[in-house]
Amino acid sequence: MSQQGIEAERAGDVAPGLELQGREDTSRGLRSYLIGFVLAAGLTAASFWAIRTHAIYGPGVSVALVTLAIAQMGIHLVFFLHITTGPDNTNNVLALVFGVLIVFLVVFGSLWIMTNLNHNMIPTKMLMDMQR
């Protein structure tokens, strides 16, 4: 970090990573975005490939799609949103982990409950026969 950045930080108006950047910081940032873009584009292409190919066992394609999607979200988080394991990112990571927990509970909880209800319901055909 530049001396200027440190002084600005002490003045309390600039954060680490947000100070006026030099040429090196910009090229490092650009490289990070480029890596992220190439990886994300590759994973997107892999998702589109997965539904056309016969190389993957049929019922496994959906698993492949979910895996590729999660991988691409990870790429976006690391290279675009700059969520890292660094000490200045602990709060962001904690919030993210909590968010992922809630998302997991909402999605899988709903699917679980609704599947269970579906099993315990009278089949539609029987219901229609009863109404006759």
């Binding site: 108006d13 950047q21 675009f80 602990t90 709060n91």
Partner: protein
Amino acid sequence: MSIASSFSPVDPHHIGHNNLALGAEGAATGHGEGGPAPKSVIVPYGFWIFLLSDIVMFSAFFASYQVVAGNAIDAAPRFDLSNLAAETGCLLLSSFLCGIASLCANRRRLFGTEIFLLLTGILGAVFLTLEIREFVGLIQQHQGPADGAYYSAFFALVGCHGLHVTVGLLWLGTMMAQIFAKGFRQDMLRRLTCFSLFWHALDIVWVAIFSLVYLMRFTP
């Protein structure tokens, strides 16, 4: 030196305070040795929490979509894969260019920032146009939001994302005008950081939509 700092001189819990100001002690209790975190850390952090709550809201739409899609008897709509690929490419490239714009802003390059923000916006608008065209096509084939449970869930989820992109485009236009008029003030840079977080997060949601909603319909 206080008692606390004798056994934890620098950042004992790795919370990121006081990485630089070695030995400097904050007078305020509860703010760590470096004093309260600067505004340009707190504002994006607050916005990050908003984004996570937004993603939680999207997860509810996802859950309802998955439940309905698993049980609906409606015929699956015929999605156009090339249209989907174009939409995905636009949004990914737009997200990338938004990052480049924030790099330009960090170097205080007005022209570069505005140009890359403009390209971000144009690609976002192309995405939105393609999506609206697809929606209109579906509605004309009587597969609109009122034509069955599956379509209701589909339009609610994808439409909610499209609505976010629309709001993002409005915000983007405002950002461009504000940066042009007011220059790279600290509050402008904070807003730009929040905007790029928002735009990248929308791309993450789109990743989930294109693979779990669209491509899932093409699995054997």
